[in-house]
């Protein structure tokens, strides 16, 4: 199996600060720390080293990353290794970004640095092996880096604890039933020491300013209830939707059950199918229009399925829909949730 290693100008032997402007470069085989890493790799060979000056990377990050990734991909490696960068901020940052870019491109990747290196937070899906704060930690770092890189190259999941936590939540056997952990948490809370196994950090959405005059406002209908035209022509998913959709209302004043249906996979849809206005309240909104309590209605409604959707995906859906509504001059939205 093949590895490519990323190093900065100094560790690649290209020079010190004087060579910090070196653009992305490819070197044959293992160089510098790679010579120490090679022997602790298991059935993996460092076929090439890619290097870049720290200043060059910092000043031309986008371009440098693109060129480095191209050099890496040309080798078709099984794993990418970056560093060790120890406590060096600029180098650690570059290592993390290169490893992160490789991981995002589907190549397993690992960087090595001190746990307080600012690069730690920007490695994306790449792994980071902890090292000492300076180059004196090389001898200790290489076997750990080698073991993790070898596991990745072989397609194995690295052991928990062999790398710095990336923040992902995984299910594990923690050795004690949840019920007994709950009793412990309760007794400790009753003694004034509140602990939790889930560190909650949820965003709070500030309510927008009230609509000054609804009788003058252009209003739109948006739902995550999985309401679609009968037959679901655009194949909206019942769970983990990958898209949101928009459908013209064509001046209709209610959603007829023969023409619309519900494909949401998170609740019993019988009542929704009986009267789709229960999902998208076009009937009531039309009445409010006639009564003059709403200025006008946007001529299309927006729909998706809110069921098991990753928060990041749902956030993006919301941004895209909101952008379109703002462009259309919509001032208020009836957002029906399920």
């Amino acid at each position: 199996m093949k590895a490519v290693q990323y190093l900065n100008q100094f560790f690649a032997g290209l020079g010190g600060e004087d060579a910090a402007e070196t653009p992305p470069t490819r070197l044959d085989g293992a160089v510098g720390p790679g010579r120490g890493l090679g022997p602790v790799l298991d059935d993996v060979e460092i076929v090439a080293t890619v290097a870049c000056g720290d200043d060059y990377f910092g000043e031309h990050e986008g371009e440098a990353l693109g060129r480095l990734l191209a050099l890496i991909e040309a080798e078709k490696p099984d794993v990418v290794v970056a560093g060790p960068a120890f406590g060096s901020g600029r180098y650690g940052y570059a290592c993390a970004r290169v490893a992160g870019a490789a991981a995002a491109a589907g190549i397993p990747a690992v960087a090595a640095m001190h746990e307080e290196n600012p690069g730690r937070t920007v490695a994306g899906k790449a792994y980071i092996v902890p090292t000492g704060v300076n180059v004196a930690g090389m001898r200790e770092a290489l076997p750990r880096l080698g073991a993790l890189a070898s596991a990745l190259a072989a397609g194995r999941e690295p052991e928990d604890g062999s790398y710095l936590a990336r923040g992902y939540r995984r299910t594990r056997n923690v050795g004690r039933p949840g019920a007994e952990r709950a009793v412990d948490l309760m007794l400790s809370k009753l003694q004034g020491q509140t602990r939790s196994e889930v560190a909650t950090a949820f965003d709070r959405v500030a309510p927008p300013d009230p609509v000054p005059d609804l009788a003058e406002a252009l209003v739109a209908l948006v739902t995550e209830a999985g309401c679609v035209p009968q037959g679901n022509p655009d194949h909206l998913a019942s769970v983990r939707a990958q898209a949101w959709l928009r459908y013209a209302l064509d001046g209709e004043e209610r959603l007829d059950s023969g023409r619309y249906e519900c494909v949401h996979g998170g609740f019993d849809v019988a009542l929704a199918n009986e009267d789709p206005n229960r999902l998208v309240p076009l009937d009531v909104v039309s009445e409010l229009l006639h009564e003059g309590r709403i200025g006008s209605l946007h001529d299309r409604f927006y729909t998706t399925t809110g069921n098991g959707t990753p928060v990041a995906v749902a956030t993006e859906f919301g941004r895209e829909i909101a952008r379109e509504l703002v462009d259309a001059g919509v001032q208020a939205v009836f957002l029906s949730g399920t």
């Binding site: 594990r172 019920a179 007794l187 196994e197 889930v198 909650t200 609740f267």
Partner: protein, 404 residues
Amino acid sequence: MAFELATFPASLLQVDPERIQQLVEAEEALASVDVNLLQPGSSVRLTHVLDAVEPRIRPDGRAAFPTEGKAGEGRTNRLDGVAVLSSVDYPGVERPLHEQESVVDMAGPGAEATPFASMRVVHLAFQAAPGYGHEAIDAPVRRVTLRTAELLAEPTLEAEPAEVERYELGPVPEDLPRVAALVQLSDLGPLYYQYFYGTPVGRAGFPKVVDPAEMLDGALASGEYHWAGMRNPTLFFQRNALVRALYREHGARLAFAGLVLMRGYEQSAEGKQTAANKAAAVAKEVRADGAIITTDAGGNSHTDVMLTCRACERAGVKTVVVLAEETDLDSTEPILTDWVVEADAIVTAGNAEDFVEAWEPERVLGGDRLTDGRDARSAGPISYRDYLGAVNQMGQLDLGAVTV
């Protein structure tokens, strides 16, 4: 009155498929049943699993899963390390059975996701009679499964127990903190019901205080077929880790203030708030200093739990909430379906979105295809969400979510 649960060894197990077949023949909606006895660690994957039940029988002749009278009194015999698992290879396309898979692996990496791989499993694979849909077969399948669990425990009537567990809440020092268990049970309509003495819990007058021994003695049965991982199968009530832990701790570190059963899936915002307030009022009634609140299934039942947590805290009852996370694999923050700021002590049952590694069993029983269309033998990784009871939100198992 004390409840005694007499434990008998799994070696007493005898399976007579004829007798189970006879139970099926009495049910118009069922065509047949395949009965398989599986040893722990067999290379078998069970699919479309509905429920898991521990074999139980009462020497005094009363029903082991009663629909009347009171459970949790006198003596009941249990067969240790044995589970009856029911599967239906679903006809038709009704929800939720058509969409929500439920897997048990008897070996391989999935063996750690459920407690059943280390047990002797009597697997019942039912086939519906032509023309009968899911709702029509649900009650007969449950009836036959519970009755089979009773038949399998019959040999205990002639044997000596290995051990007798005694459940009684005697007087304890007044200065011990009083802790109640608030256990949520689903009622979201047909195929999403938990049953209390055979009645869907939405019609059982919850929230209310019950004798905790009732839960351990067959008063609760599962007919809730939502996400498998977040399900509370019958066996998890019979061997409930939370209730048993609170009995054990009673008089030691705490006083077990009582078991309160509540409904999940109240159907309106007002209904949810009212039910939450009532649950908190019941917790106050039993003079609880603290309430451990557990969850059933996913979706808006989590809102019921969070509102109950808030109502308890506002009433001066400290809470711990047990639930499963639903954190997508790329997220670096834990994701919960709902949350209130008062929920500051949470036990995680695991991340339902995480996957159990791929494993190829020698045999598949229950149905060859997963509900998502994958071949059940070579399906590749399967999410914890799809393993029966894996991320159980009563805290039954040793699993939890950790940051990696």
